[in-house]
């Protein structure tokens, strides 16, 4: 039972990591369109690549459980959390930038 639930959480963490990446990747595609049309920096590349850190986090946690080496576990855990938080920070920066660009465009009145 425990092993089944453990396996379930592993699968779920990978799928959710992948889905988050895909979700933000889609937002990155939309931001890229605006970047292309208006020639404005939207940090779309950040949005497309940074969320991979969520997937890295999931994978590292699985590796940590599989290896079961206490010394290595701490290192892996720290790397996983840093990767997770950095990816979220860059993704947030990108989405804030895109939001800023959208605000500018929605209030555009012809000034250059």
């Amino acid at each position: 039972m425990d092993q089944t639930l453990q396996f379930y959480t592993h699968i779920i963490s990978i799928i959710s990591g992948l889905l988050f990446w895909v979700g933000f990747f889609i937002f990155g595609i939309i931001a890229h369109k605006y970047s292309k049309v208006f020639n404005k920096q939207t940090f779309y590349l950040f949005m497309m690549t940074a969320p991979s850190g969520i997937l890295v986090y999931s994978l590292l946690l699985i590796i940590k459980i599989s290896i079961n080496n206490p010394e290595l576990n701490n290192v892996i855990q720290i790397i996983a959390y840093i990767s997770f938080i950095l990816s979220i920070i860059f993704t947030l920066i990108a989405i804030l930038r895109f939001n800023f660009v959208l605000n500018l465009l929605l209030h555009y009145k012809g000034e250059k």
Binding site: K33, Y34, K36, V37, F38, N39, L105, L106, H107, Y108, K109, G110, K112
Partner: protein, 255 residues
């Protein structure tokens, strides 16, 4: 004689075209009372029959007449004659002033362009010289048309009395001093703003900047290039179907 019927061109406008295109022949003007013949040789007025007074004054009187008339042109080679050295544009402007004084604004309305037309000052060919007297209103109204404003915009922004502005406009148009821009750019902006809001406006500006297009000097080539770029940009933002609809609307309204 080859007869063709033209609508929406005034007697004055027709005379100006004949002079500017250096035609030779007899310009006939008929009212219920009399028939007047203006002899034109290679764009220069050489004779007016019958003419009881100063030719320039007589021509102004004819062009500012509020009576019913018809006019037609007989193209033919004429004997070389002495030019009356009239600046036809000046004559037409003066006739417009007389029409305004007589309260003939209703009659000239059919010769005016729709209010959403965008106008600009005409260019003249190199060898042409003109001597015109302008009033301040005439000059100011003419100089307001920079190729990006519609008739409505100019009248409202300039605070002109509509009837007075229409008479001045009639004179300027008939004299060929201002003309329509090829494309109604204002309509383009109106449509994109209506469809996409301020972002539509931003897209048009961005595409004009990217393609290095000056909206006051846009020819057919630049306009088609702009439309193609706009369609691509609109497709990115709102999808292909809606983009095509917007472009069709723009094409219908601005051509």
């Amino acid at each position: 004689m080859d007869k063709r019927v033209l609508s929406n061109i005034s007697m004055a406008g027709m005379l100006r075209i004949l002079c500017n295109y250096k035609k030779s022949g007899i310009y006939n003007i008929e009212t219920s009372e009399k028939k007047i013949q203006i002899y034109i040789n290679k764009g220069e007025i050489i004779k007016i029959i019958p003419c009881e007074k100063d030719e320039r004054e007589f021509l102004i009187e004819i062009l500012s007449s509020l009576k019913n008339f018809s006019f037609y042109f007989e193209e033919k080679n004429l004997e070389k004659g002495l030019s009356l050295k009239m600046c036809i544009e000046d004559v037409i402007l003066e006739s417009a002033r007389r029409i305004a004084k007589q309260g003939g604004c209703e009659l000239i309305r059919e010769f005016l362009l729709p209010e959403n037309e965008v106008l600009k000052i005409s260019k003249f060919p190199e060898e042409k010289s003109i001597y015109i007297k302008f009033t301040s209103d005439e000059w100011n109204l003419m100089s307001s048309f920079d190729g990006s404003k519609s008739i409505e915009n100019v009248i409202i922004d300039g605070g002109y009395n509509k009837e007075k502005a229409e008479t001045i406009l009639y004179g300027l148009l008939s004299a060929g001093l201002i003309r329509r821009t090829r494309f109604k750019i204002q309509e383009l902006f109106k449509i994109v703003r209506g469809e996409l809001g301020n972002i539509g406006f931003a897209i048009v500006d961005a595409e004009m900047f990217k393609n290095n297009i000056d909206k006051s000097k846009m020819g057919m080539k630049e306009f088609l290039k702009l439309l193609a770029s706009l369609e691509n940009s609109f497709t990115e933002i709102v999808g292909k179907t809606k983009a095509q609809l917007i472009i069709e609307k723009i094409w219908e309204a601005t051509k």
